[in-house]
């Protein structure tokens, strides 16, 4: 479904602040793979997801989604295939627009914008139904501005928007990191529900090792721009946090340094 072949990315090449963020990453996701991505600060996780999404182009390598070569497609052209939720709850929604307007924008993902009215009565009923499944009471607030919602509500809405038109690949970049633990759990449960119901191919970055182990059928670990670990299926189910730490040390030759990863 998603194939990365030898993706390299260097920021500010040829300057003193040159940064090799990805050193030739290759990865293949089957349809329905639900992959959690872990790694320390600056390991290149966000860069990986942004390269897939087309925020910038890789220096080398090839990206195919469902057999379509998207390597040179602009971000807005690729969006047809991708659903995204960002770490910042403000990033995935338009704050000054209504909930229903945001959903209508997402419902037309990858379609050209015409001079038809931006929403239909039929859609509105469908949005109400879908919002009700979130269990956050948003179904009665269709014409509230999104800026009025809490971070968790906005993140839940972003998730719904990302999956409203079934994406070939769902990209989640620490989408629960900015939320309090209880809300984070709600949003994560919702993520699992949406991913499983629709059998979505998913890449989910998280800083929380336990979340990374508990969710998904496959886990990958990044370190200094390289993929250093890729465990799936049964082996992944039996993995524990101490196992992960040990595997990290043997693969990278270093002690796990990220406080954030150990503590959470």
């Amino acid at each position: 479904m998603l194939t990365l072949a030898g993706i390299k990315k260097t920021f500010d090449p040829g300057t003193p602040i040159e940064k090799h963020a990805l050193h030739g990453v290759s990865l293949h996701l089957e349809k329905g793979d639900y992959v959690t991505v872990i790694g320390g600060n600056g390991a290149g996780k966000s860069t990986l997801l942004n390269t897939i999404a087309g925020t910038f182009f890789p220096d080398e390598g090839k990206i195919t989604v469902d057999a379509v070569d998207v390597t040179n497609l602009h971000e807005h052209k690729r969006a047809l295939y991708l659903g995204r939720v960002f770490q910042d709850p403000r990033a995935g929604t338009a704050a000054d627009m209504f909930i229903e307007e945001n959903l209508a924008l997402a419902y037309r993902r990858g379609k050209s914008r015409t001079l038809r009215w931006h929403i239909t009565a039929k859609e509105r009923a469908m949005y109400r139904e879908r919002l009700a499944t979130l269990g956050l009471g948003l179904e009665n607030r269709l014409t509230d501005k999104v800026g009025l919602l809490s971070g968790g509500q906005r993140q839940a809405l972003s998730l719904l928007m990302a999956t409203l038109r079934e994406p070939r690949v769902l990209l989640l970049d620490e989408h629960t990191a900015a939320l309090d633990p209880k809300t984070a759990k709600t949003v994560l449960d919702l993520t699992n529900q949406l991913v499983h119901e629709n059998n979505l191919t998913t890449l989910m970055v998280t800083h929380n090792m336990r979340d990374a182990l508990k969710n998904g059928n496959r886990i990958i670990m990044m370190h200094e721009g390289n993929l250093i670990l890729d465990v799936k299926g049964e082996e992944k189910t039996n993995l524990t946090v101490p196992d992960l730490l040990k595997m990290f040390e043997t693969a990278s030759g270093e002690e796990m340094a990220s406080d954030r990863m150990l503590l959470t």
Binding site: A53, H74, E75, H76, K77, A79, L80, L82, R84, F86, R90, A91, G92, T93, A94, A95, D96, M97, E101, N102, A104, L105, A106, R108, R109, G110, K111, R113, T114, L115, R116, W117, H118, M161
Partner: protein, 314 residues
Amino acid sequence: MFILQFFENNWIVMQGAVSLGIIFSLMAMGVFLAFRILEMPDLSVEGSIILGAGMSARLISGGMNPFLATLLSVLVGSAAGFCTGFLHTKLKIPSILAGILTMVAAYSVVFRIMGANNVPLLPHGPQRVTSVFTFLQDWGLSRPNAIILLSVVVVVVVSALLYCFMGTEFGSAIRATGNNRQMVKAQGINTDIMIIACLMLSNGMVALAGSLWAQQQGFASVDMGIGTIVIGLASVIIAEVIFRPRRFWTSLIAIVIGSIIYRLIIALALSVDFMRSTDLRLVTAVIVAFALCLPLLRDNIAKLRKFIRNRGNT
């Protein structure tokens, strides 16, 4: 009341202020589109207002049908908006600078179009100027009434169209672009196109205001556009401070009223004996500064009240 008395004694001044206010509300809506909807400070409106005025004056004085001339003026304004949008999105020039470049270039272009510093519109019968208002005068309306009537019709039609457009899928994408470009891209929308389209729309409206303005006063001059941006902002801010509109259509209505209020304040200020008409821009700047600091002022007054109340209690 002093103010009411003033306007009663100066019916003509007030009529002029109202008709200018209505015509300029089109410009203020253009400024609103760029500054508030797109959240992009677009200074090219200073250029498009004189492009609209100069183009109309030249074409009408050359004998063209005033309606056709007005339409062409709008297109020239849109072209200016396109330039700013292109400079900003495709050439990655910061928006303020892109607007300034277009504005500066527009001054030269307008001079070429007009061929002189000042172009009067052609006489049409005794004491009349050819303009889009002429046909109403031919029907027997006085010139001031003809101007107000047609301007009101134009403003109503344009804002209705604008409202409908902003409610379409395309308009909705433009509004979202001003809000959150990243999110809009993630929804598969080309933000460059949205930005360029919105600037073309906004500058087209500003040029329409310029065109009607030239036809209202009977001439266009090269320097008449200076300060336009501040006048537009003044109207928008007055509208926001007084009416606090929450929806798009209430914003549009508030802007029309804000634009008229601005003109009335100016008329009132200039009626004071020692004020000169050249003080207009100073007065405008003061109004905008005042309106902008109103929230702060409000806070401080509330604090002061509380302070006095507390002292009274102890």
